[in-house]
Symmetry: C2
Subunit: 627 residues, 2 copies
Amino acid sequence: MPKVTFLPSNITIEFKDQENLLKAAMEAGIHINASCGGAGVCNKCRIFVEEGTVKGEELPEGGWKACVTVPETDVVIRVPVESQMDRKALKRPLAKKATSWIKARGRKISIKSEPAITKSLMHVPEPTLSDNLSDLGRIRREVGQSFHLDVDSQVLYRLPYAMREGKWQITASFMETDRIDHKRLIRVEPGNKTEGQHGIAIDIGTTTVSAKLVSLLDQKIISEASDYNPQVSYGEDVISRMEFSRKGQGLKILQEKIVSCINKLIDELLTEGKRTKEDICLLSIAANTVMTHFLLGLETRYLREAPYTPVANRFPPVRAREIGIDLPQHVRIFLAPCVASYVGGDIVAGVVGVEMNHQPELTLFIDIGTNGEIVLGNQDWMACAACSAGPAFEGGGIKHGMRATVGAVEVVHIHPETFEPMVLTIGGKKAKGICGSGIISLLAGLFMTGALDRQGKFQQDLNTPRIRPGRDGWEYVVVTKDATATGEDIVFTEADVENLIRAKGAMFAGYLTLLESVGMAISDLERVILAGNFGSYLDLEQAITIGLLPDIPRDRFFFAGNTSLLGAEICAYSWPKFKEMEEVAQMMTHFDLSDNPRFMDNYVSCLFLPHTDLSLFPSVKEALEGE
Amino acid sequence: MPKVTFLPSNITIEFKDQENLLKAAMEAGIHINASCGGAGVCNKCRIFVEEGTVKGEELPEGGWKACVTVPETDVVIRVPVESQMDRKALKRPLAKKATSWIKARGRKISIKSEPAITKSLMHVPEPTLSDNLSDLGRIRREVGQSFHLDVDSQVLYRLPYAMREGKWQITASFMETDRIDHKRLIRVEPGNKTEGQHGIAIDIGTTTVSAKLVSLLDQKIISEASDYNPQVSYGEDVISRMEFSRKGQGLKILQEKIVSCINKLIDELLTEGKRTKEDICLLSIAANTVMTHFLLGLETRYLREAPYTPVANRFPPVRAREIGIDLPQHVRIFLAPCVASYVGGDIVAGVVGVEMNHQPELTLFIDIGTNGEIVLGNQDWMACAACSAGPAFEGGGIKHGMRATVGAVEVVHIHPETFEPMVLTIGGKKAKGICGSGIISLLAGLFMTGALDRQGKFQQDLNTPRIRPGRDGWEYVVVTKDATATGEDIVFTEADVENLIRAKGAMFAGYLTLLESVGMAISDLERVILAGNFGSYLDLEQAITIGLLPDIPRDRFFFAGNTSLLGAEICAYSWPKFKEMEEVAQMMTHFDLSDNPRFMDNYVSCLFLPHTDLSLFPSVKEALEGE
């Protein structure tokens, strides 16, 4: 691998999979002005090659475009500077990522395979005139005293054929029940079919539905698939969908949409995994409370209206076919239990997925999605809350916000002197908008360079054309129209900043409120687990800088990806883990923050960057004072 | 009530509800020649009025037709006689009926009302912001530690509406489970609906389906209905229906037929009882093993073929709707458990219905239907068997046999000198055929008058035109064609007698075999219970005379009517009684007589009237020797 040395900072890194020298510079902590995100159109990212050879595009006035150039040998690159001050500003803090939870713990959290539905091979003596017990009676006799047997009446239809076709060798599927000494016979197949023991784990997110086909005994992931939740057409967020569900056939439509999405994903999983529907024993599904209600076709009206009561938080196993999922009739759905209207099965599954309920460390589990749910606690106790953070960190309610897809500005660094940005977009395409991580780095960068004050207002007297009064108040021009895909300037407005401050304020006020309710403080946190894909992209320093995450040692942060799907997967392997979810849901004390005066006080204090009380953010305070 | 004295016998009885003087004479034990069954056409039943006044029809040659004449005051009636011998023969033994089991025990066998499904009125606290547990959680909290709650997922759909419509007062229906500390929530209704707790008890016979609508808590019969089993169109007996079921859609057709019959009966019961489908909690159904399989749509092929294994003998509660019964989806069917292919839930229900499992007396329970099932035992042990008696006692396989409907010859007395019959038909209409009780009285009468010998052969040298060689061998003319509805002679043939001897022989050999298998004898029997309507019409003396019933003191016989329906009704009231059925089915030792050499020996010995060994029938022996 070629080595790249950047001058004048004299920083050397290895060039691995950074794609081009602009990205390499970003990783090395080197600022290079660049507005087009790497699309090769702004011609601003000029560099000079001092040693070695490169391949890429030369600029007519000399030098190379960093965003489309790669080293062929070890190279020494000079980044042009206009002043000595500039020279200093070129060096910026490196991005600090949270540790991968999975890597830290090892993917295989040791779980014994004890699925809720298991197959047993049974040899049943062939009947004779002197032993002509009924077909079912023969199974009961084999089971003997091991457990009490309940029976699905549907089993009886195929039973006589299965027994004779299998020449008195059958595979019986038994489902666990709430009682340890009771099992339920839900299926019989002729011969030995114990190979085909698979399950499907599904996370139904408000935006995305993700699924995994897994083999239940050896815990292998056979295939994965995901898709947008098609309910999006009827409302971006849960509130608008709940409103839609009340009109005419609304609820029915929403249920049919999610069911057809799941049916499609199952087909994909089976095709890719080369399995059949007959191989499936169970579905393990985690979803927030509203999505769970929609999946079952349950009324959500009272979820929406005070005092916000779900129809149920714990759900009995449901036949997949009963709600329209196209799988054999024995297949059951195990639904992660919910805690309250806005703390759902996705959170409970996540908590069990990361084994928070088995660890002594005081942990803050954060899921920053559309809503923002948090859980505080450890193996002994847990408190949870939904923070009404809104979708700002997913780009919602932000003027040029967008989802993290191709063309989204994902990282921005701002030159502390010139306020010129260094912009990277997803896929290196012309910018279309700004996604969550871009929004955070913009907010953090503008704040740390002093372009934004602690109230989130732009300094109006800075010598830069990038900060200007716009249609919606003062704004920062991230990418000028000549370099965007839209032909319009992409800007970041004071209104956007206000929204973000409210969103991060709601989250942080949530942490504080839960901590205070148990008499603890930020500094007591031994671990912060970031759920969702968000956590893996997040620049910890920036997120702390803006007051979204607590200012504690960085090695206490972990990102855990889609913990809801992780929990669903684990519960597919293990019925005891499913029961643990019920215990966790039961043990969680839910705080309704909308109704909580302490939260309101905390919230108001959080409407600053990073917070009214800077002592809560010692490292940010130090950085600010150090300038 | 007028008194009627018959001369020359000088016997006086009260005239109550005998309808006419012919019936009064039959009841008094007086023989009057009469062939038309009471239809007023044969003009043979002439009587003379010596004192008092009568109303009816006078004969042109003097005297009155007994079959259409009733007394207006106390009367003295002279029955004409041709000889002194005749005078003696006029007096015949009185019919001896078994005691009514219900009357003997009292209708209310004291059963506590503990139905398998009960309704509870619950007041659930209205949710507030500080107590916003889910709707289902509120029910769980009310239930508390009383029992563990399973929940039908369908309950959740109506739950939020029911709670709010009922202003937080709901009626919850709980179903018992196999575990005493677990109940299942299967329905919620708004407000107080505890009034509507009804059940339907059904006996599905091969020929007839009978049903009762009952209120579960006060054990009142609201309405009753019955109908022919429409499967009859596809085969008179279970064997031919099982054959039909194997062809194409046969099984499906048979299931649909019985389900539509039940649906029709339910409609009738509800209309007559002024109840709605919403008032129904459960169905309690008893049926033989084949009928039970057809009801559920289960394969009967292996029931039919050796070694005769049912799909199941114990059935889980089934949703009525699942098999097509048009009742709300919470309604469950509780099916009486079976013992073996030919000893079904009807017998088990019967045994529990007459409480044989709670009594120390050695009891023989006899159900003489198409098949003939017997149970021997007491509270400590039970043995059972099916006797393959065939339908002879229901008129099947008898030349002029018919069911017990209008126009059937139901009682016959034969003049011991002239062999002239005294015939009564059901409804006093012209005879169409002979039903079960008529067949038994014919066989007993012909045997006791010496017209038939112990092998069942006619004496061919008697001086009567009634006994003659016919198309199918020797026969007795019961009704001459001038007095029948068909315009043909109604006869009773030697082939009929053979069939009947085989049928009664199979039953009696069954009793003997079960008794011998436990080292007991006929004389040890402390009680004989006759199930089915048959028992209430049966003349005990006649049935003993032909060797169908054991010759023990007559006060040990009881008839109990439709014990299958009785048992189903009791189990509708009481879940513990339903569990008793399972215990009884479990404790019964089943003897497969088709395979039993001892049975074959006994059977051969039984192919005489009443039996090879006359010492088994002391009272018959005495009567025969007395002549």
